[in-house]
């Protein structure tokens, strides 16, 4: 093989490689990328690159919603909210991929001012151009038909509905009712109305909402996880530092893998099971390709 042929060959390979990889990924079930390390921004980027890079999800000019968990008036180390460094890295990746606008918000449980402030997320995103970190405005919830098994309709946030790309960015933590709260549960942050109502049949309700509002990419912040007294915690003894970020285009697969970090099986989490049955993704760990990056 002369040099010219070699170069041509490698150029072709370089061009085709992502396509080939994509084909392979599709054939072998969903990929869950898992990155570990103490630099949270770096591991977030590695995890995203592990599932094809942000360019695969965010086209230039797209409007992106990044939905972290900002639900509680807690500090980052208490593991009740998504880590600001992880949020910032995801937002920056969106911008690098050419996003027209990135909107970051959550319908908080505690006072929104305190949550945005003390989660560190508002501060982390300050000064970034084309990025909005606004509090929820009640008039923007829109009654949306879901035709689900439990919820026939519900108020959802218009910005989430209108976005080209919806990136789900939960923190992995314990929850009193659903045992764990991960990507599927994090969708509650775009729901308005009497949210507590859904607790009567939480797993089905969340499957209903996730069927309507799909997460194009799920990035689970497991840099530190809350193992008990969730979803708020408050006691550092309940926090376990794992320095891990998980990414997947398949929200159920991401949740299923994250469940194992707590020593539980995906089948232990009713929400995961309900979403899998609904065809929202894969929960069988044997069919999920875990890529450590």
């Amino acid at each position: 093989m002369d040099r010219r042929t070699f170069l041509k060959g490698s150029a072709a390979a370089a061009l085709l490689a992502p396509v080939v990889a994509q084909e392979l990924l599709a054939a072998a079930g969903p990929v869950v990328a898992v990155a570990e390390g103490a630099d949270y921004q770096a591991i977030t980027r590695r995890a995203i690159n592990g599932v094809g890079g942000m360019g695969r999800y965010v086209r230039p000019g797209a409007t992106v919603v990044v939905k972290p968990n900002i639900g509680w008036d807690r500090t980052p180390e208490q593991a009740a909210n998504s880590h600001p460094a992880v949020v910032k890295a995801v937002v920056e990746e969106c911008l690098a991929a050419g996003a027209k606008k990135v909107k970051v918000f959550d319908y908080t449980c505690n006072d929104p001012r305190r949550c945005y402030m003390n989660s560190g997320i508002e501060q982390a995103l300050k000064g970034l151009k084309k990025v909005e970190c606004k509090q929820i405005e009640m008039e923007r919830f829109r009654m949306t038909p879901l035709n689900g098994q439990f919820l026939k309709e519900w108020e959802l946030y218009d910005e989430a509905l209108a976005a080209d790309v919806f990136i789900n960015l939960p923190v992995a933590k314990h929850h009193g009712l659903s045992r764990l709260t991960l990507g599927l549960k994090n969708i509650m942050g775009v729901m308005g109305g009497n949210r507590g109502f859904t607790h009567r049949n939480l797993a089905t309700a969340l499957a209903d909402v996730n069927s309507r509002l799909k997460s194009h990419l799920t990035v689970i912040d497991a840099t530190r996880i809350l193992t008990a007294h969730g979803p708020q915690g408050g006691n550092l003894a309940d926090v376990k530092v794992l320095n891990t970020v998980i990414a997947s285009a398949d929200i159920v697969a991401a949740d299923a893998y994250a469940t194992t970090l707590f020593g539980l099986k995906p089948a232990d989490i009713a929400v995961t099971v309900a979403a899998h049955k609904r065809g929202l993704g894969e929960m069988d760990l044997d069919r999920i390709r875990v890529v450590r990056v």
Binding site: D73, C109, N110, D111, R113, R114, M117, N118, K134, E137, E139, R140, D158, E159, A162, H175, G176, L177, N194, R195, G196, F197, H199, R200, N201, L202, H229, P231, Q232, G233, G234, N235, D238
Partner: protein, 520 residues
């Protein structure tokens, strides 16, 4: 307009009114846990607050040092506060008609202000501190807080929401401007308050009175003005000449408060210096005269004094009546441990209700009896006490709500939560819920749940999580009651308790220990 002439007194009035409004707007959480210490400054410098606090609480608070200084300044200079500082006085001056009416209203004359002041002070001595109800600064603050500011906020919000209905997402293009105004001027949440109409009516009545007689409120009614006038009459600063000149008499027209009898009434002179500025002959001066003989009698008269004492006593005893069913609803702000001590110290100024992060505090209308009118009540169904927030203690001018560090405040007991099994879903409907447990901010969870297997209302046996309260570590913040998804009456309610000693670390450990031993 006469008022726009920038004399020293006018400039001072404008500055203090601007300061008052600035501090008013600042009395809100704006991203920093520690609020500007000056926001309650007008009340801490208020001699009426000081005197009624000393009489009722019979103790001293360092917070009220500025009021002591103002008393001393008044002794030295006279009743300058009313003409140079008081924001309500300035507001009245701004709203006074062009043609001032200086003839006194006959039905307001005499010793009326002492008939208001003395019973209030004597009632305070008999443990009923109502002075704040008629304090001019409190009247102004309550009118703004409970009526005008929410009105402004609501108008802005409705307009903003309407814009969304009209142009939808395109509204985002002007969002930065709105958010800027919202951040620096508008209230974060437009809360509707009980007594809002009454608060506004009281303020408007004072303003209306101004149309009948200039500074009528200040001259004939204001208990703070009466107190300051009484202190100020000992001041060595005197006007020369004391009366009207025989060839002129312009002072009678220039003076906003006194001179209806032809001589300057020193307890009503607010030192605005209008007469000095306006005198065509430059005859008038204010200068110290070192004489220890007061120009007027020191006491307003024995009859008023005795009447005031009797009035105070008559006010103090029957006002304590309280409906028995009201008591189980009286939740006080965090850190208030004793209801009686609280009532003696509370000014009813409205600062805590203005600042409350989640708008959990509302003025008591009937709930706490006459005695408790305008005192703050926590109504969890409307707003809960935010776990890490210490703002109400920070703004309380007398320390009736103690200013505690956040770690201590978190352990303060407002009340205890109790489940109502007729409403709580897991008990009443046999379905899962525990939204209350999810929201409970106590790190070890004062609301927990246990799994029970029982037949549902449809007869199918299933596992349901039944919640329970760990009373030892519940601080009664009320978030459980607030978020309870039952739309009728909440399935969990916070009730006041007598023993409001803070939760100790030991109790917390013990409680958790006991629970783990229970055979669930």
């Amino acid at each position: 307009m006469r008022f726009l002439k920038p004399t020293s007194a006018r400039i001072s009035q404008w500055l203090f009114l601007a300061l008052f409004l600035l501090l008013f707007i600042q009395t809100e959480y704006r991203g920093i846990d520690q609020i500007n210490a000056a926001v309650n400054g007008f009340f801490r410098a208020d001699p009426l607050v000081l005197v009624s606090f000393l009489l009722a609480a019979k103790t001293w608070s360092r917070l009220l040092l500025p009021a002591v200084l103002l008393c001393l300044a008044t002794l030295l200079l006279g009743r300058f506060f009313c003409g140079w500082v008081c924001p309500l006085g300035t507001l009245l001056d701004l709203l006074t008609p062009r043609q001032r009416r200086t003839r006194p209203l006959p039905w307001l004359g005499g010793n009326l202000k002492y008939w208001l002041l003395l019973p209030l002070l004597f009632a305070a001595l008999f443990n009923l501190n109502l002075a704040g109800l008629l304090d001019p600064i409190a009247i102004l603050l309550r009118g703004l807080t409970f009526f005008f500011y929410p009105l402004l906020g609501l108008a802005a919000r409705e307009g903003w929401v309407e814009l969304y209905r009209l142009i939808g997402e395109q509204r985002d293009s002007v969002a930065p401007a709105y958010l800027l105004v919202k951040q620096y001027l508008l209230p974060f949440r437009e809360t509707l308050y009980p007594l809002s109409f009454f608060s506004a009516a009281l303020l408007l009545a004072i303003i209306l009175l101004e149309r009948l007689e200039t500074r009528a409120w200040c001259r004939h009614l204001c208990p703070l003005g009466a107190l300051l006038g009484w202190l100020g009459r000992l001041s060595p600063f005197r006007r020369k000449p004391a009366g009207l000149c025989s060839d002129c008499g312009l002072c009678r027209e220039l003076c906003p408060t006194t001179f209806d009898q032809g001589t300057l009434n020193r307890e009503e002179c607010i030192l605005c210096m209008e007469c000095q500025q306006g005198c065509p002959y430059q005859r008038i001066s204010f200068r110290p005269v070192w004489s220890l003989t007061p120009s007027e009698p020191v006491m307003p008269g024995r009859r008023v004094l005795l009447g005031g004492m009797a009035g105070g006593l008559l006010l103090a005893i029957p006002a304590r009546f309280r409906q028995p069913e009201a008591s189980p609803l009286l939740l006080r702000p965090p850190g208030v441990q004793d209801e009686d001590a609280f009532l003696k110290q509370c000014v009813r100024c409205g600062e805590c209700m203005k600042v409350c992060l989640k708008n959990a505090l509302y003025p008591a209308a009937w709930q706490a009896g006459w005695e408790g009118l305008y005192t703050p009540l926590l109504i969890p169904r409307l707003g809960y006490c935010e776990y890490h927030c210490t703002l109400c203690g920070q703004v309380c001018p007398t320390g009736a709500i103690p200013n505690l560090p956040v770690e201590e405040k978190k352990r303060q007991v407002i009340g205890k939560a109790v489940f109502d099994r007729d409403h709580c879903l897991p008990f009443a409907r046999k379905t899962d819920c525990i939204v209350c447990e999810e929201h409970c901010p106590i790190p070890d969870k004062a609301i927990r749940s246990r799994e029970v297997r029982l037949p549902g209302l449809d007869g199918v046996v299933r596992t349901v999580k039944e919640p329970y309260v760990v009373e030892e570590i519940c601080n009664g913040c009320g978030i459980c009651e607030q978020v309870c998804p039952v739309e009728t009456r909440a399935g969990i309610r916070v009730y006041p308790v007598k023993d409001r000693r803070p939760i100790t670390a030991a109790a917390s450990v013990q409680a958790v220990h006991q629970i783990e031993k229970l055979p669930y």
